[in-house]
Structure formats: structure tokens, C-alpha cells
């Protein structure tokens, strides 16, 4: 039963991922923690493995739709390992709780900016 629930959340995660351009970890991680009894750390690591094929399929489809700026994506991807290294080191130096709260605040600020942009009149050129 729990396997079926995890698989369903996996499908939903892939769908959200394809729709919004994220890997799907936001659903994979809870699916693995709640239904497959993985620890948070292990679930996050396992989730990353599940994200790889999701991202490959999504890129393939989006290339077909003409929605990928390949060079920009590769620049971002190529420089991200620097960030990953910083992240891994930092996570061992600073309290995880502090990091979670900082990122939560950041997410809310970005969400507000996105909403403000989405709600502003369409015919106005960007400032």
C-alpha cells in the first residue's frame, strides 16, 4: 500500500516538475520519508536520483516545444557545482534550522515578486 502511495506521489511530483520547471523533490522527499521510512537526509539524496530522469525527459520535451535556452541552462548548470559545494560545507557549519528559516523567508520574498509581476498590466513594457 505504501509503495502505491509513494508511486502516486512520484507521478504527481513529476507532473509538478514538468509543469513548473522544478525537479519534483518537494513531493519526492515527503513520499520517501512518510511512505518508505527513509530518514530526511536519505530521502533528499534518493530524491535527487529520481530527479535526474524527470529533468532529462522534461528538457527533451521542452526542447521540442522551443522553450529551452540551451546556453543559459548549461551556464547555470555548470556553475551550480560551486553552489552545491558551498551548500554541503555550509550545512555542516550552520544549524539546519537556521538555514531552513532563511530559505523559507527567501522563498516568500520571491513568491511575492512573482505575483506582483504576474498581476501587473500586460501591455506595459518591462521596466
Amino acid at each position: 500500500m505504501s509503495e502505491i502511495a509513494a508511486a502516486l506521489l512520484g507521478f504527481a511530483g513529476g507532473m509538478v516538475g514538468g509543469l513548473l520547471g522544478v525537479g519534483g523533490g518537494i513531493l519526492f522527499v515527503p513520499a520517501l520519508v512518510i511512505f518508505m521510512d527513509e530518514s530526511q537526509v536519505s530521502a533528499e539524496a534518493t530524491s535527487l536520483l529520481a530527479i535526474v530522469p524527470v529533468a532529462i525527459v522534461a528538457v527533451w520535451r521542452q526542447l521540442g516545444y522551443g522553450n529551452v535556452r540551451v546556453r543559459d541552462g548549461l551556464v547555470i548548470g555548470a556553475l551550480s557545482p560551486v553552489g552545491v559545494a558551498i551548500g554541503v560545507v555550509t550545512s555542516n557549519e550552520i544549524s539546519q534550522r537556521a538555514l531552513e528559516l532563511i530559505f523559507a523567508g527567501l522563498a516568500l520574498v520571491i513568491a511575492t515578486q512573482l505575483l506582483l509581476r504576474a498581476l501587473r498590466p500586460a501591455d506595459r513594457p518591462s521596466d
Partner: protein
């Protein structure tokens, strides 16, 4: 036109987005997309669809690097990854197809909702 400074500024922004996405991914295990997509829209003026497609290109690299590092710590469970990942591949087909039929503004609004959910997931212990 200040072409050269603009091009430099653009590359710096891409670099910053890559680093921020990597930090997010390395720290929290949530793919860097939740950072990359909105920053492409807000900083570089991407349309929402282009932002999501380009983000996925970066995520292929980011997730591959991060999972390799995590594998050294023995934290990865491949059977469980397949359990959620295989259905997720079908989901990704459906999600990208659906995305082509909804307005870009709705994509941005849905993304804002996703970010609020991410924030809640981070805040709730």
C-alpha cells in the same frame, strides 16, 4: 547601447543563479529549480515557459552532481528512487504537455504557490 556591460551583467546573473540553485540543492535536497525559475523571470526577463525549460536543463547537471556527492555518503536508495522516479517520468510528460496549454501568467502564479508551499515545508519542523 551598453552592450558589453549588459552582456557581462547577464553572465554574472546566470552565474549567481547557478550558484544559488546549487546551494539550495546541496543544502536542502530540493532541486534548484525553485530558485532558478523565478530568478530567470525576475532578473533576466524570461517568459515563464522558457524559464521552466531552461531550469530543467540546469537541473539535469545539478541533480547529477549532487546525487554523485550524496552517493559517497551512502545516502541514496536506488530502488526507492525508481519507485518514485519511474512514475515521475510519466508525470513529467504530462506536466510539460499541460504547460503548453495554459497562460504564462498562470504558470507564474502557480509557481508562487509552489514557493509558499516550499516555505511552509521549511518552516514546519
Amino acid at each position: 547601447m551598453q552592450r558589453s556591460p549588459a552582456a557581462t551583467s547577464r553572465t554574472v546573473k546566470l552565474a549567481a543563479i547557478g550558484t544559488a540553485g546549487g546551494i539550495f540543492s546541496g543544502l536542502l535536497g530540493v532541486g534548484g529549480g525553485s530558485v532558478i525559475v523565478p530568478l530567470l523571470i525576475i532578473w533576466l526577463g524570461y517568459g515563464a515557459r522558457e524559464a521552466t525549460g531552461t531550469s530543467m536543463m540546469a537541473i539535469v547537471v545539478i541533480a547529477a552532481v549532487a546525487v554523485t556527492l550524496q552517493a559517497f555518503y551512502g545516502n541514496v536508495d536506488p530502488p526507492n528512487a525508481a519507485l518514485v522516479g519511474v512514475p515521475a517520468i510519466a508525470g513529467a510528460f504530462a506536466g510539460t504537455a499541460l504547460q503548453q496549454h495554459i497562460p504564462e501568467r498562470l504558470i507564474a502564479v502557480l509557481f508562487a504557490v509552489l514557493l509558499v508551499l516550499v516555505a511552509i515545508e521549511l518552516i514546519v519542523p
